[in-house]
Protein backbone atom coordinates (compact mmCIF):
# COMPACT_ATOMS: atom_id res chain seq x y z
CA UNK A 1 0.00 0.00 0.00
CA UNK A 2 2.59 2.46 1.10
CA UNK A 3 4.77 1.21 -1.75
CA UNK A 4 2.08 2.08 -4.26
CA UNK A 5 1.44 5.53 -2.85
CA UNK A 6 5.18 6.12 -2.79
CA UNK A 7 5.41 5.09 -6.42
CA UNK A 8 2.51 7.38 -7.34
CA UNK A 9 4.03 10.25 -5.40
CA UNK A 10 7.33 9.57 -7.14
CA UNK A 11 5.69 9.52 -10.55
CA UNK A 12 3.82 12.73 -9.86
CA UNK A 13 6.98 14.34 -8.57
CA UNK A 14 9.07 13.35 -11.56
CA UNK A 15 6.29 14.45 -13.91
CA UNK A 16 6.16 17.82 -12.16
CA UNK A 17 9.93 18.05 -12.43
CA UNK A 18 9.94 17.28 -16.12
CA UNK A 19 7.15 19.81 -16.74
CA UNK A 20 9.01 22.56 -14.89
CA UNK A 21 12.27 21.61 -16.60
CA UNK A 22 10.48 21.81 -19.94
CA UNK A 23 9.06 25.23 -19.06
CA UNK A 24 12.52 26.50 -18.15
CA UNK A 25 14.07 25.13 -21.33
CA UNK A 26 11.26 26.28 -23.58
CA UNK A 27 12.05 29.10 -25.97
CA UNK A 28 10.42 32.37 -24.92
CA UNK A 29 9.06 34.64 -27.64
CA UNK A 30 9.16 38.42 -27.47
CA UNK A 31 7.81 40.78 -30.15
CA UNK A 32 9.07 44.37 -30.10
CA UNK A 33 7.51 47.25 -31.99
CA UNK A 34 8.90 50.78 -32.25
CA UNK A 35 7.36 53.77 -33.99
CA UNK A 36 10.67 55.21 -35.25
CA UNK A 37 14.32 54.23 -35.57
CA UNK A 38 15.79 57.17 -33.63
CA UNK A 39 19.10 56.55 -31.77
CA UNK A 40 17.52 56.67 -28.28
CA UNK A 41 14.79 54.18 -29.17
CA UNK A 42 17.30 51.78 -30.70
CA UNK A 43 19.37 52.12 -27.50
CA UNK A 44 16.31 51.02 -25.52
CA UNK A 45 15.99 47.95 -27.71
CA UNK A 46 19.71 47.21 -27.33
CA UNK A 47 19.42 47.50 -23.53
CA UNK A 48 16.37 45.24 -23.54
CA UNK A 49 18.25 42.43 -25.30
CA UNK A 50 21.30 42.93 -23.02
CA UNK A 51 19.11 42.97 -19.91
CA UNK A 52 17.37 39.74 -20.91
CA UNK A 53 20.75 38.13 -21.53
CA UNK A 54 21.64 39.01 -17.92
CA UNK A 55 18.45 37.21 -16.86
CA UNK A 56 19.56 34.12 -18.77
CA UNK A 57 17.66 34.56 -22.04
CA UNK A 58 19.96 34.43 -25.04
CA UNK A 59 18.60 35.49 -28.39
CA UNK A 60 18.62 32.58 -30.81
CA UNK A 61 18.98 30.03 -27.99
CA UNK A 62 16.10 30.23 -25.53
CA UNK A 63 14.73 33.58 -26.70
CA UNK A 64 13.11 34.38 -30.01
CA UNK A 65 12.94 38.10 -30.78
CA UNK A 66 10.79 39.67 -33.49
CA UNK A 67 11.67 43.36 -33.86
CA UNK A 68 9.69 45.63 -36.17
CA UNK A 69 9.64 49.36 -36.82
CA UNK A 70 6.60 51.20 -38.18
CA UNK A 71 9.04 53.74 -39.69
CA UNK A 72 6.82 56.59 -38.56
CA UNK A 73 3.71 55.27 -40.28
CA UNK A 74 0.58 54.70 -38.17
CA UNK A 75 -1.09 52.34 -40.64
CA UNK A 76 2.01 50.16 -40.58
CA UNK A 77 2.01 50.25 -36.77
CA UNK A 78 -1.57 48.97 -36.70
CA UNK A 79 -0.70 46.12 -39.06
CA UNK A 80 2.43 45.12 -37.12
CA UNK A 81 0.38 44.94 -33.92
CA UNK A 82 -2.21 42.70 -35.62
CA UNK A 83 0.54 40.45 -36.93
CA UNK A 84 2.10 40.16 -33.46
CA UNK A 85 -1.25 39.23 -31.95
CA UNK A 86 -1.61 36.47 -34.52
CA UNK A 87 1.81 35.08 -33.59
CA UNK A 88 0.82 34.97 -29.88
CA UNK A 89 4.23 35.78 -28.36
CA UNK A 90 4.88 35.42 -24.62
CA UNK A 91 5.19 39.19 -24.41
CA UNK A 92 4.82 42.26 -26.65
CA UNK A 93 7.21 45.12 -25.85
CA UNK A 94 6.03 48.47 -27.20
CA UNK A 95 8.48 51.36 -27.60
CA UNK A 96 6.85 54.87 -27.76
CA UNK A 97 3.32 55.98 -26.88
CA UNK A 98 1.41 55.41 -30.16
CA UNK A 99 2.59 51.81 -30.62
CA UNK A 100 1.71 51.11 -26.97
CA UNK A 101 -1.78 52.49 -27.52
CA UNK A 102 -2.23 50.41 -30.67
CA UNK A 103 -1.22 47.22 -28.83
CA UNK A 104 -3.29 47.90 -25.70
CA UNK A 105 -6.35 48.72 -27.85
CA UNK A 106 -5.92 45.55 -29.88
CA UNK A 107 -5.41 42.78 -27.30
CA UNK A 108 -6.67 42.09 -23.81
CA UNK A 109 -4.87 38.72 -23.53
CA UNK A 110 -1.23 38.94 -24.58
CA UNK A 111 1.02 40.56 -21.90
CA UNK A 112 2.29 44.00 -22.95
CA UNK A 113 5.27 45.82 -21.42
CA UNK A 114 5.49 49.41 -22.66
CA UNK A 115 8.58 51.62 -22.48
CA UNK A 116 9.59 55.24 -23.32
CA UNK A 117 6.01 56.36 -22.72
CA UNK A 118 5.90 59.77 -21.04
CA UNK A 119 2.45 59.71 -19.47
CA UNK A 120 0.90 56.21 -19.22
CA UNK A 121 -2.23 57.54 -17.48
CA UNK A 122 -3.02 60.35 -19.92
CA UNK A 123 -2.27 58.06 -22.86
CA UNK A 124 -4.92 55.69 -21.39
CA UNK A 125 -2.54 52.73 -21.36
CA UNK A 126 -3.47 52.05 -17.74
CA UNK A 127 -6.30 53.31 -15.56
CA UNK A 128 -4.13 53.47 -12.43
CA UNK A 129 -0.41 53.14 -11.76
CA UNK A 130 -0.41 50.74 -8.79
CA UNK A 131 -1.49 47.23 -9.81
CA UNK A 132 -2.99 48.56 -13.05
CA UNK A 133 -4.91 45.36 -13.80
CA UNK A 134 -5.44 44.18 -17.35
CA UNK A 135 -2.56 42.98 -19.51
CA UNK A 136 -0.26 46.02 -19.70
CA UNK A 137 2.32 47.77 -17.56
CA UNK A 138 5.67 49.45 -18.20
CA UNK A 139 8.12 52.28 -17.67
CA UNK A 140 7.73 56.02 -18.19
CA UNK A 141 10.54 58.22 -19.50
CA UNK A 142 9.25 61.41 -17.86
CA UNK A 143 12.25 63.76 -17.52
CA UNK A 144 13.58 64.25 -13.97
CA UNK A 145 13.01 68.03 -13.98
CA UNK A 146 13.29 68.37 -10.20
CA UNK A 147 16.67 66.56 -10.06
CA UNK A 148 17.90 68.70 -12.95
CA UNK A 149 16.93 71.91 -11.13
CA UNK A 150 18.54 70.60 -7.92
CA UNK A 151 21.87 70.41 -9.75
CA UNK A 152 21.44 73.99 -10.96
CA UNK A 153 20.86 75.09 -7.35
CA UNK A 154 23.82 73.06 -6.13
CA UNK A 155 26.22 74.63 -8.63
CA UNK A 156 24.67 78.12 -8.47
CA UNK A 157 23.69 78.48 -4.78
CA UNK A 158 22.73 82.17 -5.13
CA UNK A 159 20.15 81.41 -7.84
CA UNK A 160 17.39 84.01 -7.73
CA UNK A 161 16.23 84.07 -11.33
CA UNK A 162 16.52 81.23 -13.86
CA UNK A 163 16.38 82.03 -17.58
CA UNK A 164 14.55 79.55 -19.79
CA UNK A 165 15.54 79.47 -23.47
CA UNK A 166 13.22 77.32 -25.57
CA UNK A 167 11.11 77.13 -28.72
CA UNK A 168 7.44 77.54 -27.70
CA UNK A 169 6.20 75.63 -30.76
CA UNK A 170 7.74 72.41 -29.43
CA UNK A 171 5.34 70.54 -27.20
CA UNK A 172 7.80 68.63 -25.02
CA UNK A 173 9.95 71.74 -24.46
CA UNK A 174 6.85 73.66 -23.45
CA UNK A 175 5.74 70.99 -20.99
CA UNK A 176 9.19 70.95 -19.30
CA UNK A 177 9.06 74.75 -18.99
CA UNK A 178 5.58 74.50 -17.45
CA UNK A 179 6.79 71.99 -14.85
CA UNK A 180 9.84 74.16 -13.97
CA UNK A 181 7.58 77.18 -13.51
CA UNK A 182 5.38 75.06 -11.25
CA UNK A 183 8.21 74.04 -8.90
CA UNK A 184 10.10 77.38 -8.98
CA UNK A 185 8.26 79.14 -6.07
CA UNK A 186 8.69 76.06 -3.86
CA UNK A 187 12.43 75.98 -4.63
CA UNK A 188 12.86 79.70 -4.07
CA UNK A 189 13.65 81.23 -7.44
CA UNK A 190 11.90 83.16 -10.21
CA UNK A 191 11.89 82.34 -13.93
CA UNK A 192 12.19 84.46 -17.06
CA UNK A 193 11.20 82.92 -20.39
CA UNK A 194 13.14 83.82 -23.51
CA UNK A 195 11.48 82.19 -26.52
CA UNK A 196 13.56 81.28 -29.58
CA UNK A 197 11.35 80.78 -32.63
CA UNK A 198 13.71 79.11 -35.07
CA UNK A 199 17.43 78.40 -34.98
CA UNK A 200 18.48 81.93 -36.05
CA UNK A 201 16.90 83.48 -32.95
CA UNK A 202 18.79 81.33 -30.42
CA UNK A 203 21.73 83.73 -29.76
CA UNK A 204 19.44 86.76 -29.34
CA UNK A 205 17.22 84.77 -26.98
CA UNK A 206 20.34 84.19 -24.86
CA UNK A 207 21.47 87.84 -25.06
CA UNK A 208 18.04 89.00 -23.87
CA UNK A 209 18.75 87.29 -20.53
CA UNK A 210 22.16 88.86 -19.89
CA UNK A 211 22.16 90.84 -16.64
CA UNK A 212 18.79 89.44 -15.56
CA UNK A 213 19.57 85.86 -14.57
CA UNK A 214 22.16 83.85 -12.62
CA UNK A 215 21.73 80.72 -14.75
CA UNK A 216 20.07 79.53 -17.97
CA UNK A 217 18.19 76.25 -18.40
CA UNK A 218 17.41 74.67 -21.79
CA UNK A 219 14.81 71.87 -21.94
CA UNK A 220 14.91 69.04 -24.49
CA UNK A 221 14.52 71.38 -27.42
CA UNK A 222 15.66 70.49 -30.94
CA UNK A 223 15.60 74.13 -32.07
CA UNK A 224 17.95 75.39 -29.33
CA UNK A 225 20.16 72.30 -29.61
CA UNK A 226 20.40 73.01 -33.34
CA UNK A 227 22.34 76.22 -32.60
CA UNK A 228 23.59 75.34 -29.16
CA UNK A 229 27.19 76.52 -29.68
CA UNK A 230 25.98 80.06 -30.38
CA UNK A 231 24.15 80.10 -27.03
CA UNK A 232 27.26 78.73 -25.27
CA UNK A 233 29.29 81.60 -26.77
CA UNK A 234 26.82 84.20 -25.44
CA UNK A 235 26.84 82.57 -21.99
CA UNK A 236 30.63 82.38 -21.82
CA UNK A 237 30.97 86.06 -22.72
CA UNK A 238 28.42 87.03 -20.06
CA UNK A 239 29.62 84.42 -17.52
CA UNK A 240 26.19 82.82 -17.12
CA UNK A 241 26.21 79.03 -16.62
CA UNK A 242 23.94 77.01 -18.95
CA UNK A 243 22.24 73.80 -17.86
CA UNK A 244 20.40 71.37 -20.10
CA UNK A 245 18.19 68.28 -19.98
CA UNK A 246 20.35 65.70 -21.75
CA UNK A 247 23.91 64.39 -21.93
CA UNK A 248 25.06 65.30 -25.45
CA UNK A 249 24.58 69.03 -24.91
CA UNK A 250 26.88 68.89 -21.87
CA UNK A 251 29.56 67.55 -24.16
CA UNK A 252 28.85 70.54 -26.42
CA UNK A 253 29.35 73.11 -23.68
CA UNK A 254 26.59 73.10 -21.05
CA UNK A 255 27.78 72.95 -17.42
CA UNK A 256 25.82 69.92 -16.20
CA UNK A 257 22.72 67.76 -16.38
CA UNK A 258 21.13 64.85 -14.62
CA UNK A 259 19.55 62.27 -16.83
CA UNK A 260 19.11 58.61 -17.56
CA UNK A 261 20.71 56.40 -20.08
CA UNK A 262 18.42 54.79 -22.66
CA UNK A 263 20.36 51.51 -22.72
CA UNK A 264 19.78 51.38 -18.96
CA UNK A 265 16.09 52.05 -19.55
CA UNK A 266 16.01 49.04 -21.88
CA UNK A 267 17.57 46.93 -19.12
CA UNK A 268 14.90 48.04 -16.63
CA UNK A 269 12.30 47.09 -19.24
CA UNK A 270 13.98 43.67 -19.44
CA UNK A 271 13.46 43.24 -15.67
CA UNK A 272 9.72 43.57 -16.22
CA UNK A 273 9.78 41.25 -19.24
CA UNK A 274 11.63 38.66 -17.14
CA UNK A 275 8.79 38.77 -14.57
CA UNK A 276 6.27 38.19 -17.37
CA UNK A 277 8.31 35.19 -18.58
CA UNK A 278 8.26 33.82 -15.02
CA UNK A 279 4.46 34.03 -14.93
CA UNK A 280 3.58 37.40 -13.37
CA UNK A 281 0.77 39.25 -15.14
CA UNK A 282 1.58 42.86 -16.13
CA UNK A 283 -1.64 43.82 -14.34
CA UNK A 284 0.06 42.93 -11.06
CA UNK A 285 3.15 45.05 -11.78
CA UNK A 286 3.17 48.74 -10.84
CA UNK A 287 3.87 51.26 -13.58
CA UNK A 288 7.38 52.62 -13.01
CA UNK A 289 8.99 55.97 -13.63
CA UNK A 290 12.56 55.66 -14.86
CA UNK A 291 13.55 58.83 -12.97
CA UNK A 292 12.40 57.32 -9.65
CA UNK A 293 14.13 53.95 -10.01
CA UNK A 294 17.23 53.40 -7.83
CA UNK A 295 20.52 54.40 -9.49
CA UNK A 296 18.79 55.34 -12.73
CA UNK A 297 19.97 58.95 -12.81
CA UNK A 298 23.50 59.89 -13.74
CA UNK A 299 25.27 63.22 -13.45
CA UNK A 300 27.16 64.62 -16.45
CA UNK A 301 29.38 67.69 -16.11
CA UNK A 302 31.69 69.79 -18.30
CA UNK A 303 34.61 71.09 -16.21
CA UNK A 304 36.15 73.34 -18.85
CA UNK A 305 32.85 74.96 -19.76
CA UNK A 306 32.03 75.55 -16.09
CA UNK A 307 35.29 77.47 -15.66
CA UNK A 308 34.57 79.58 -18.76
CA UNK A 309 31.08 80.40 -17.49
CA UNK A 310 32.43 81.45 -14.10
CA UNK A 311 31.27 78.61 -11.83
CA UNK A 312 33.32 76.14 -9.80
CA UNK A 313 32.50 72.44 -9.61
CA UNK A 314 33.22 71.06 -6.13
CA UNK A 315 35.42 67.94 -5.89
CA UNK A 316 32.48 66.09 -4.28
CA UNK A 317 30.31 66.89 -7.29
CA UNK A 318 33.00 65.82 -9.76
CA UNK A 319 33.32 62.55 -7.86
CA UNK A 320 29.58 61.89 -8.19
CA UNK A 321 29.60 62.52 -11.94
CA UNK A 322 29.19 59.54 -14.23
CA UNK A 323 31.12 61.38 -16.92
CA UNK A 324 33.27 64.54 -16.88
CA UNK A 325 33.77 66.18 -20.26
Amino acid sequence: MSKISFAIAGAVFSLALSVSAQAADAVKTMSIITMNDTPQLLEVKEGLIKGLAAHGYTEGKNLKVDFKSAQGNFGTAQQIVRQFIGEKPDVIVTITTPTSQAAVAATKDIPIIFTTVTDPLKSKLVTRENHPGGNASGISDLVPTESQINIVKEIVPNLKTLGLVYDPSLDNARSTVESIKAIAPKMGFKTIESPAMGINNVPSAGQALVGKVEAIFVPNDTTVYGAFESLVKVAQDAKIPIFTAERRSVQRGAVATVGFDFVDMGKRTADMVDKVFKGTSPGDMDVQYMKDLPNSLALYVNKESAAKMGVKLSPALLKRAAQVF
Partner: protein, 298 residues
Protein backbone atom coordinates in the same frame (compact mmCIF):
# COMPACT_ATOMS: atom_id res chain seq x y z
CA UNK B 1 0.60 35.42 -43.23
CA UNK B 2 -1.57 34.61 -40.22
CA UNK B 3 -5.31 35.21 -40.04
CA UNK B 4 -4.67 38.15 -37.69
CA UNK B 5 -2.15 39.70 -40.09
CA UNK B 6 -4.72 39.33 -42.89
CA UNK B 7 -7.46 40.89 -40.78
CA UNK B 8 -5.08 43.73 -39.90
CA UNK B 9 -4.40 44.31 -43.60
CA UNK B 10 -8.11 44.18 -44.44
CA UNK B 11 -9.27 46.62 -41.74
CA UNK B 12 -6.42 49.08 -42.32
CA UNK B 13 -6.99 48.83 -46.08
CA UNK B 14 -10.71 49.54 -45.64
CA UNK B 15 -10.04 52.51 -43.32
CA UNK B 16 -7.65 54.04 -45.88
CA UNK B 17 -10.01 53.18 -48.79
CA UNK B 18 -11.90 56.39 -47.99
CA UNK B 19 -8.65 58.36 -48.48
CA UNK B 20 -8.15 56.48 -51.75
CA UNK B 21 -11.67 57.42 -52.90
CA UNK B 22 -10.88 61.05 -52.05
CA UNK B 23 -7.61 60.85 -53.96
CA UNK B 24 -9.52 59.41 -56.92
CA UNK B 25 -11.72 62.53 -56.93
CA UNK B 26 -8.79 64.96 -56.77
CA UNK B 27 -5.99 63.12 -58.56
CA UNK B 28 -7.97 61.37 -61.29
CA UNK B 29 -11.28 63.25 -61.75
CA UNK B 30 -10.05 66.82 -61.14
CA UNK B 31 -6.41 66.22 -62.14
CA UNK B 32 -5.41 68.08 -58.95
CA UNK B 33 -2.63 66.36 -56.93
CA UNK B 34 -3.87 67.26 -53.44
CA UNK B 35 -1.35 66.98 -50.60
CA UNK B 36 -3.78 68.44 -48.05
CA UNK B 37 -4.58 64.87 -46.94
CA UNK B 38 -1.38 64.68 -44.84
CA UNK B 39 -3.03 67.32 -42.64
CA UNK B 40 -6.73 66.49 -43.01
CA UNK B 41 -6.26 62.83 -41.98
CA UNK B 42 -4.90 63.74 -38.51
CA UNK B 43 -7.40 66.64 -38.45
CA UNK B 44 -10.26 64.14 -38.58
CA UNK B 45 -8.62 62.05 -35.86
CA UNK B 46 -8.04 65.14 -33.71
CA UNK B 47 -11.59 66.49 -34.01
CA UNK B 48 -13.18 63.11 -33.30
CA UNK B 49 -10.87 62.37 -30.35
CA UNK B 50 -11.29 65.80 -28.78
CA UNK B 51 -15.09 65.61 -29.07
CA UNK B 52 -15.17 62.05 -27.71
CA UNK B 53 -13.11 62.88 -24.60
CA UNK B 54 -15.34 65.92 -24.11
CA UNK B 55 -18.36 63.63 -23.83
CA UNK B 56 -19.81 63.77 -27.36
CA UNK B 57 -20.89 60.34 -28.61
CA UNK B 58 -18.64 58.59 -31.13
CA UNK B 59 -21.04 58.79 -34.10
CA UNK B 60 -21.60 62.54 -33.81
CA UNK B 61 -17.86 63.06 -33.27
CA UNK B 62 -16.99 61.04 -36.39
CA UNK B 63 -19.55 62.89 -38.51
CA UNK B 64 -18.27 66.27 -37.23
CA UNK B 65 -14.70 65.20 -38.09
CA UNK B 66 -15.78 64.55 -41.69
CA UNK B 67 -17.44 67.96 -41.96
CA UNK B 68 -14.44 69.81 -40.50
CA UNK B 69 -12.26 67.93 -43.01
CA UNK B 70 -14.23 69.56 -45.86
CA UNK B 71 -13.04 72.96 -44.56
CA UNK B 72 -9.42 71.86 -45.03
CA UNK B 73 -10.20 71.12 -48.67
CA UNK B 74 -11.87 74.52 -49.07
CA UNK B 75 -8.73 76.18 -47.66
CA UNK B 76 -6.51 74.53 -50.28
CA UNK B 77 -8.99 75.42 -53.04
CA UNK B 78 -8.97 79.04 -51.82
CA UNK B 79 -5.16 79.19 -51.90
CA UNK B 80 -5.12 77.71 -55.39
CA UNK B 81 -8.04 79.56 -57.00
CA UNK B 82 -8.03 82.97 -55.27
CA UNK B 83 -4.33 83.41 -54.43
CA UNK B 84 -3.19 81.59 -57.57
CA UNK B 85 -0.78 79.31 -55.68
CA UNK B 86 0.39 76.16 -57.48
CA UNK B 87 -1.87 73.19 -56.59
CA UNK B 88 0.86 71.04 -54.98
CA UNK B 89 2.16 74.00 -52.95
CA UNK B 90 -1.36 75.00 -51.87
CA UNK B 91 -1.90 71.52 -50.44
CA UNK B 92 1.46 71.53 -48.66
CA UNK B 93 0.71 74.93 -47.12
CA UNK B 94 -2.64 73.78 -45.76
CA UNK B 95 -1.11 70.56 -44.48
CA UNK B 96 1.68 72.27 -42.51
CA UNK B 97 -0.77 74.83 -41.12
CA UNK B 98 -3.01 71.95 -40.01
CA UNK B 99 -0.15 70.52 -37.93
CA UNK B 100 -0.40 73.55 -35.62
CA UNK B 101 -4.20 73.56 -35.84
CA UNK B 102 -4.32 69.90 -34.80
CA UNK B 103 -2.04 70.60 -31.82
CA UNK B 104 -4.41 73.40 -30.84
CA UNK B 105 -7.48 71.19 -31.19
CA UNK B 106 -6.03 68.41 -29.06
CA UNK B 107 -4.06 70.65 -26.61
CA UNK B 108 -1.32 68.02 -26.73
CA UNK B 109 0.24 65.77 -29.38
CA UNK B 110 -1.69 62.62 -28.48
CA UNK B 111 -5.13 61.68 -27.13
CA UNK B 112 -5.72 58.09 -26.03
CA UNK B 113 -9.09 56.51 -26.88
CA UNK B 114 -8.56 53.13 -25.24
CA UNK B 115 -11.57 51.66 -23.37
CA UNK B 116 -13.90 54.33 -24.74
CA UNK B 117 -17.18 53.67 -26.53
CA UNK B 118 -16.26 54.01 -30.22
CA UNK B 119 -18.30 53.56 -33.40
CA UNK B 120 -17.10 49.93 -33.38
CA UNK B 121 -18.46 49.14 -29.91
CA UNK B 122 -22.04 48.20 -31.03
CA UNK B 123 -20.59 45.79 -33.61
CA UNK B 124 -18.56 43.98 -30.96
CA UNK B 125 -21.80 42.52 -29.62
CA UNK B 126 -22.83 40.88 -32.89
CA UNK B 127 -21.74 37.45 -31.70
CA UNK B 128 -18.66 37.33 -33.92
CA UNK B 129 -15.18 37.65 -32.37
CA UNK B 130 -14.65 41.30 -31.43
CA UNK B 131 -11.69 41.79 -33.78
CA UNK B 132 -14.06 41.47 -36.75
CA UNK B 133 -16.09 44.49 -35.57
CA UNK B 134 -14.07 47.17 -37.44
CA UNK B 135 -14.29 45.14 -40.67
CA UNK B 136 -18.09 44.89 -40.47
CA UNK B 137 -18.59 48.64 -39.99
CA UNK B 138 -15.83 49.77 -42.36
CA UNK B 139 -17.11 47.53 -45.17
CA UNK B 140 -20.56 49.12 -44.89
CA UNK B 141 -19.15 52.67 -44.71
CA UNK B 142 -16.79 52.18 -47.66
CA UNK B 143 -19.50 50.60 -49.86
CA UNK B 144 -21.94 53.42 -49.03
CA UNK B 145 -19.46 56.15 -49.91
CA UNK B 146 -18.29 54.31 -53.03
CA UNK B 147 -21.89 54.16 -54.30
CA UNK B 148 -22.54 57.80 -53.34
CA UNK B 149 -19.49 58.90 -55.34
CA UNK B 150 -20.59 56.74 -58.31
CA UNK B 151 -24.06 58.31 -58.22
CA UNK B 152 -22.65 61.83 -57.73
CA UNK B 153 -20.32 61.54 -60.74
CA UNK B 154 -23.32 60.48 -62.84
CA UNK B 155 -25.33 63.63 -62.05
CA UNK B 156 -25.14 66.80 -64.17
CA UNK B 157 -22.94 68.41 -61.53
CA UNK B 158 -20.69 65.35 -61.38
CA UNK B 159 -20.31 65.26 -65.17
CA UNK B 160 -19.42 68.95 -65.10
CA UNK B 161 -16.74 68.17 -62.49
CA UNK B 162 -15.29 65.43 -64.70
CA UNK B 163 -15.26 67.80 -67.65
CA UNK B 164 -13.52 70.47 -65.54
CA UNK B 165 -10.79 67.99 -64.71
CA UNK B 166 -10.46 66.48 -68.19
CA UNK B 167 -10.29 69.76 -70.09
CA UNK B 168 -10.61 72.92 -67.96
CA UNK B 169 -10.54 75.34 -70.93
CA UNK B 170 -13.20 73.49 -72.85
CA UNK B 171 -15.28 73.17 -69.70
CA UNK B 172 -14.96 76.91 -69.00
CA UNK B 173 -15.97 77.68 -72.58
CA UNK B 174 -19.08 75.56 -72.08
CA UNK B 175 -20.12 77.56 -69.04
CA UNK B 176 -18.78 75.25 -66.29
CA UNK B 177 -17.34 77.11 -63.33
CA UNK B 178 -14.04 75.23 -62.96
CA UNK B 179 -13.15 77.01 -59.72
CA UNK B 180 -16.37 75.90 -58.07
CA UNK B 181 -15.74 72.30 -59.18
CA UNK B 182 -12.31 72.38 -57.52
CA UNK B 183 -13.77 73.80 -54.28
CA UNK B 184 -16.45 71.10 -54.13
CA UNK B 185 -14.11 68.28 -55.19
CA UNK B 186 -11.40 69.15 -52.68
CA UNK B 187 -14.01 69.62 -49.95
CA UNK B 188 -15.45 66.15 -50.61
CA UNK B 189 -12.04 64.50 -50.84
CA UNK B 190 -10.76 65.99 -47.59
CA UNK B 191 -14.05 65.28 -45.85
CA UNK B 192 -13.59 61.61 -46.78
CA UNK B 193 -9.96 61.75 -45.63
CA UNK B 194 -10.87 63.27 -42.25
CA UNK B 195 -13.65 60.69 -41.84
CA UNK B 196 -11.06 58.02 -42.53
CA UNK B 197 -8.75 59.58 -39.92
CA UNK B 198 -11.54 59.57 -37.34
CA UNK B 199 -12.41 55.92 -38.04
CA UNK B 200 -8.74 54.86 -38.02
CA UNK B 201 -7.99 56.65 -34.74
CA UNK B 202 -10.84 54.82 -33.00
CA UNK B 203 -9.49 51.52 -34.31
CA UNK B 204 -5.90 52.36 -33.29
CA UNK B 205 -6.89 53.57 -29.82
CA UNK B 206 -5.40 57.05 -30.19
CA UNK B 207 -5.29 60.24 -32.20
CA UNK B 208 -1.78 61.58 -32.76
CA UNK B 209 -0.56 64.76 -34.40
CA UNK B 210 1.94 62.79 -36.56
CA UNK B 211 -0.70 60.45 -37.97
CA UNK B 212 -0.61 62.08 -41.40
CA UNK B 213 2.89 60.88 -42.28
CA UNK B 214 2.82 58.80 -45.45
CA UNK B 215 -0.94 59.13 -46.05
CA UNK B 216 -0.47 60.65 -49.51
CA UNK B 217 1.83 57.79 -50.59
CA UNK B 218 -0.70 55.21 -49.43
CA UNK B 219 -3.55 57.02 -51.20
CA UNK B 220 -1.68 57.37 -54.50
CA UNK B 221 -0.43 53.76 -54.34
CA UNK B 222 -4.04 52.63 -53.90
CA UNK B 223 -5.39 54.77 -56.78
CA UNK B 224 -2.54 54.13 -59.23
CA UNK B 225 -2.04 50.50 -58.25
CA UNK B 226 -5.75 49.70 -58.15
CA UNK B 227 -6.60 51.31 -61.49
CA UNK B 228 -3.50 49.78 -63.09
CA UNK B 229 -4.58 46.30 -62.01
CA UNK B 230 -8.20 46.89 -63.08
CA UNK B 231 -8.11 49.25 -66.05
CA UNK B 232 -11.58 50.49 -66.99
CA UNK B 233 -13.37 53.57 -68.29
CA UNK B 234 -16.41 53.11 -66.06
CA UNK B 235 -16.59 55.16 -62.85
CA UNK B 236 -18.06 52.35 -60.68
CA UNK B 237 -15.23 50.03 -61.78
CA UNK B 238 -12.58 52.69 -61.10
CA UNK B 239 -13.85 53.48 -57.59
CA UNK B 240 -13.98 49.74 -56.90
CA UNK B 241 -10.38 49.51 -58.15
CA UNK B 242 -9.35 52.24 -55.68
CA UNK B 243 -10.94 50.38 -52.76
CA UNK B 244 -9.31 47.10 -53.80
CA UNK B 245 -6.03 48.93 -54.42
CA UNK B 246 -6.07 50.18 -50.84
CA UNK B 247 -6.62 46.67 -49.48
CA UNK B 248 -4.02 45.11 -51.81
CA UNK B 249 -1.46 47.70 -50.71
CA UNK B 250 -1.99 46.58 -47.10
CA UNK B 251 -1.74 42.91 -48.02
CA UNK B 252 1.54 43.66 -49.82
CA UNK B 253 2.74 45.42 -46.68
CA UNK B 254 1.68 42.48 -44.49
CA UNK B 255 3.72 40.18 -46.78
CA UNK B 256 6.66 42.55 -46.49
CA UNK B 257 6.30 42.50 -42.71
CA UNK B 258 6.40 38.72 -42.57
CA UNK B 259 9.37 38.44 -44.92
CA UNK B 260 11.86 37.84 -42.06
CA UNK B 261 12.35 34.32 -43.32
CA UNK B 262 14.16 35.44 -46.46
CA UNK B 263 16.74 37.48 -44.57
CA UNK B 264 15.01 40.85 -44.61
CA UNK B 265 14.90 42.91 -41.43
CA UNK B 266 12.47 45.42 -39.94
CA UNK B 267 14.13 48.39 -41.58
CA UNK B 268 13.61 46.92 -45.07
CA UNK B 269 9.82 47.17 -44.91
CA UNK B 270 9.57 50.35 -46.96
CA UNK B 271 11.77 49.11 -49.79
CA UNK B 272 9.94 45.77 -49.94
CA UNK B 273 6.64 47.66 -50.14
CA UNK B 274 7.98 49.89 -52.89
CA UNK B 275 9.12 46.86 -54.90
CA UNK B 276 5.76 45.13 -54.49
CA UNK B 277 3.88 48.27 -55.57
CA UNK B 278 6.24 48.72 -58.52
CA UNK B 279 5.54 45.13 -59.61
CA UNK B 280 1.79 45.77 -59.31
CA UNK B 281 2.22 48.79 -61.58
CA UNK B 282 4.42 46.97 -64.07
CA UNK B 283 2.37 43.79 -64.58
CA UNK B 284 -0.57 45.48 -66.42
CA UNK B 285 1.85 47.49 -68.58
CA UNK B 286 3.61 44.30 -69.57
CA UNK B 287 0.31 42.62 -70.37
CA UNK B 288 -0.85 45.44 -72.62
CA UNK B 289 2.44 45.64 -74.57
CA UNK B 290 2.10 41.91 -75.26
CA UNK B 291 -1.46 42.23 -76.51
CA UNK B 292 -0.66 45.21 -78.70
CA UNK B 293 2.29 43.58 -80.38
CA UNK B 294 1.24 42.34 -83.86
CA UNK B 295 1.46 38.57 -84.03
CA UNK B 296 1.98 38.45 -80.28
CA UNK B 297 0.27 36.23 -77.79
CA UNK B 298 -3.14 37.39 -78.87
Amino acid sequence: MSLYAFIGALETGLAFALVALGAYLTFRVLDFPDLTVEGSFPLGAAVAAKLMVSGVDAWTATLAAGLVGCLAGFATAFLNRKLRILHILAGILTAIALYSVNLRIMDRPNIGLINMATVYTPFERLGVPSFYAPIVLLTVVVIVFKILIDLFLGTGFGLAMRAAGANPRMAQANGIQVGRMIVVGLGMANGLTALSGALFAQMLGAADVSMGIGVIVVALAAVIGGTALMPSRLVPMLTLACVLGSILYRIALALALSSDAIGLTASDVNVVTAVLVAIALWVPVRKSTFSRRPGGLK
